[in-house]
């Protein structure tokens, strides 16, 4: 059974007269697989990641999402997180006044309580944090700073992957993690993500450019077009997109190939 099974998913902006964005997405991801969704701006790829994470600014109008045998769409955003879904944001929010360590401790323990496990003690938490900080080459002072406050774009993205490593998700959704990263930061972030690859965990990478996929090499690549997955393939599809652009897929779809 796949870890994530999306069938005919339709979603629109949750507002009167809201635009339809997802128009019948079908996607099946096994645990241990890494999938990439590529597409032009406005194709719906980021919306898909947000809908899977439970953002209520989008309304699902049709279709189903099964995650680990559960109806994902029935769960609130926080329940999904506690069940092991993690969204690394395209635009991480700055939250003045809440330190990263307090926040992460709350996040880790919310999941543990959900699973019926005891809360993590301070020593174990610190050990976990140090290990993951080293992985992402982060300055330990980050932990005492307010979440993302005054961080550069690259630092914010690094912080997302650091949090992902700490939260240890089963389904990691990376929404345009590469945007705004220089090549060094990209490598660090990619190696952080790669360290999470393994049995039992699926990663869905949403990206506009092929560049990130040189470092996080996907098992499958999907092209999203106007709210649907228009084409799927392996990592070579990403290369082809890089060379030939997205118009080529559009023409193919229009021609009914």
């Amino acid at each position: 059974m796949p870890l994530l099974e999306i069938k005919d998913l339709h979603a629109r902006v949750a507002a009167p007269g809201g635009r339809d964005i997802l128009k019948g997405v079908n996607l099946s991801i096994q645990a241990s697989e890494v999938h990439a969704i590529m597409g032009k701006n406005g194709s719906g790829k980021s919306t898909l990641a947000q809908v899977l994470a439970g953002r209520e600014t989008y309304e699902v109008t049709q279709g189903s999402v099964q995650y680990d045998g559960k109806d994902l769409l029935e769960l609130s955003a926080e329940e999904r997180a506690r069940e092991g879904v993690f969204l690394a944001f395209q635009y991480p929010v700055e939250i003045p006044g809440v330190s990263t360590d307090y926040f992460l401790k709350a996040a880790v323990n919310a999941a543990r309580i959900h699973r019926g496990e005891p809360e993590m003690d301070a020593v174990s938490f610190l050990k976990l944090i140090r290990e993951k900080m080293a992985l992402l080459k982060m300055d330990p002072s980050f932990m005492k700073r307010a979440i993302n406050e005054g961080f550069s774009g690259g630092e914010k993205k690094r912080n997302e992957i650091f949090q992902m490593a700490v939260c240890d998700p089963r389904l990691a959704l990376m929404d345009e993690t590469d945007s705004g990263l220089d090549i060094d930061a990209l490598k660090v972030v990619a190696s952080g993500a790669n360290s999470l690859r393994g049995p039992g965990r699926a990663i869905l990478v949403v990206t506009h450019y092929q560049r990130l996929l040189n470092y996080i090499v996907p098992d499958y690549v999907h092209v999203m077009l106007d709210g649907r997955i228009a084409k799927s393939g392996d990592k070579n599809l990403a290369m082809e997109l890089e060379e030939r652009g997205y118009d080529w897929v559009e023409r193919q779809v229009a021609a009914g190939v």
Partner: protein
């Protein structure tokens, strides 16, 4: 007349007869205050400065002076608010009367004294007479006039030239209703800071059950190059009226940092005026207001730039729940000649309910041409983007909102350098918003850059 209602009970003349002969200067001051109040009376809503705070309930009330007796409730409130060994000295006043048994009066470092007005009046007028009523102008506000005409006791802090006091001096004013009638009290504080001194002063105002009015006036006069860390913690009871004024005048190069917190209270009005009278004086005035139910708070601040090269910073944050209402009026006045003024004012408000109301009004009055003045004001509900971010990591919806509310206020509380004040604020916030009491998300070290 309103005045006669207030003065029912013990008259100024009777008090004087009991306390021994009043010095002529003090009598003159009191009479001037009383006369001013008799002339202007309680402020009306037609007065632009009082448009949004209706004190007719106070005007109608039959307030009587409180007796010097200390109730069990007052003792308990004082105990909870006490700083214990965290303060170098702690003077407690219950309903305006000095409560010696609850106070901890110790000798301050040589060159500094803290006494009650009554004590100082008896011993030495050298500090009191040239300074009392000099900075707090009875024409500024009817409630300054009322206090000046009515105060019975209070505190005088005198810090001599180059004296440094490390631990805070704590003045604690407890107001309760004793007996059947609503009670009123008129705390009065004078601070005289001589050149190059440094100290921390905390004024706590704590209100108990029942209807009472606390009409307080604090005046601070600072010489050259003083460093004053001032803190005000108001925690009003549900039926408490607080009409407060703080006026500070800073000499050349003096630095004044104020943090004022208003937690609850039926109706609170704070008038805070800092006059930068000497070149290079520097004022930071920050505040936090936490209201719920039908509570009302009105903060009126004035940064008065009367000399060149003076920076001033102001940050006020308001958290409003229920049907509470709040006013922030921040005025920056740059007088002619106050060139190179650099003033920044920010007011931010978080509305936790649809029924809460905030009125934020910046006011700039600038009569010099080479100055930098900025102001900004935001009012809105909890940021849903932030809520979703926290939820997407597993933090529950309610907890996320509470955490963000706490963090919003913590932007001010984290700047407070006096640990017992900061701790009380954090505990209050944590308790009110269902967070664990051990939550400490403020971190002084990491914020020193911004926290000035």
């Amino acid at each position: 007349m309103k005045m006669t209602q207030l003065a029912r009970g013990k008259s100024v003349e009777q008090s004087q007869a009991e306390a021994g002969a009043e010095q002529p200067w003090l009598e003159t001051l009191r009479r001037a205050g009383a006369a001013r109040f008799a002339r202007v009376g309680y402020p009306q809503r037609t007065d632009e400065n009082w448009r949004l705070t209706n004190v007719s309930a106070i005007a109608r009330m039959n307030f009587v002076p409180a007796t010097p007796e200390i109730s069990d409730e007052a003792t308990e409130l004082a105990r909870q608010a006490s700083f214990g060994a965290d303060a170098v000295a702690e003077l407690v006043f219950v309903n305006g009367h000095f409560a010696e048994s609850l106070s901890r009066v110790v000798k301050l470092p040589r060159g500094a004294t803290v006494e009650t007005i009554a004590q100082m009046r008896a011993s030495d007028g050298a500090v009191l007479s040239p300074n009392l009523g000099q900075v707090a102008d009875i024409e500024d506000s009817p409630f300054i006039a009322l206090n000046t005409g009515s105060f019975e006791d209070g505190a005088v802090l005198h810090v001599g030239r180059s004296v440094q006091i490390e631990k805070p001096i704590h003045l604690l004013f407890v107001s309760t209703k004793d007996g059947v009638e609503p009670t009123r009290s008129f705390p009065r504080v004078l601070v005289v800071a001589e050149d190059n001194c440094e100290f921390t002063l905390v004024e706590s105002f704590v209100g108990g059950r029942g209807v009472h009015l606390t009409n307080s006036v604090t005046e601070i006069t600072a010489g050259k190059d003083c460093r004053i860390n001032y803190n005000r913690l108001q925690r009003g009871g549900d039926e408490a009226f607080a009409m407060a004024a703080l006026t500070a005048r800073l000499g050349r190069g003096s630095r004044f940092v104020s943090h004022a917190a208003t937690l609850g209270g039926k109706m609170t009005r704070n008038e805070l005026k800092v006059a930068m009278a000497g070149e290079g004086a520097d004022a930071t005035i920050n505040g936090v207001v936490i209201l719920s139910g039908d509570q009302h708070c009105d903060n009126q601040t004035l940064l008065d730039h009367a000399a060149p090269h003076c920076p001033s910073h102001e940050l006020y944050k308001h958290v409003l729940d229920g049907k509470s209402t709040c006013v922030f009026k921040g005025k920056i006045l740059v007088r002619p000649g106050a060139q190179k003024t650099d003033s920044k004012q920010t007011s931010k408000s978080l509305l936790l309910s649809d029924d809460a109301r905030m009125n934020s009004q910046p006011a700039l009055e600038i009569y010099a041409d080479d100055v930098k003045c900025t102001h900004g004001s935001t009012t809105g509900p909890v940021d849903e983007e932030m809520v979703f971010y926290l939820r997407s990591r597993g933090v529950g919806m309610v907890a996320a909102r509470h955490l963000l509310t706490y963090a919003f206020a913590a932007d001010v509380t984290r700047r407070i350098k006096v640990e017992p004040v900061r701790r009380r604020l954090e505990d209050f916030l944590a308790a009110q918003h269902g967070l664990p009491r051990d939550l400490r998300i403020t971190d002084l070290g990491a914020h020193d850059e911004k926290a000035r």
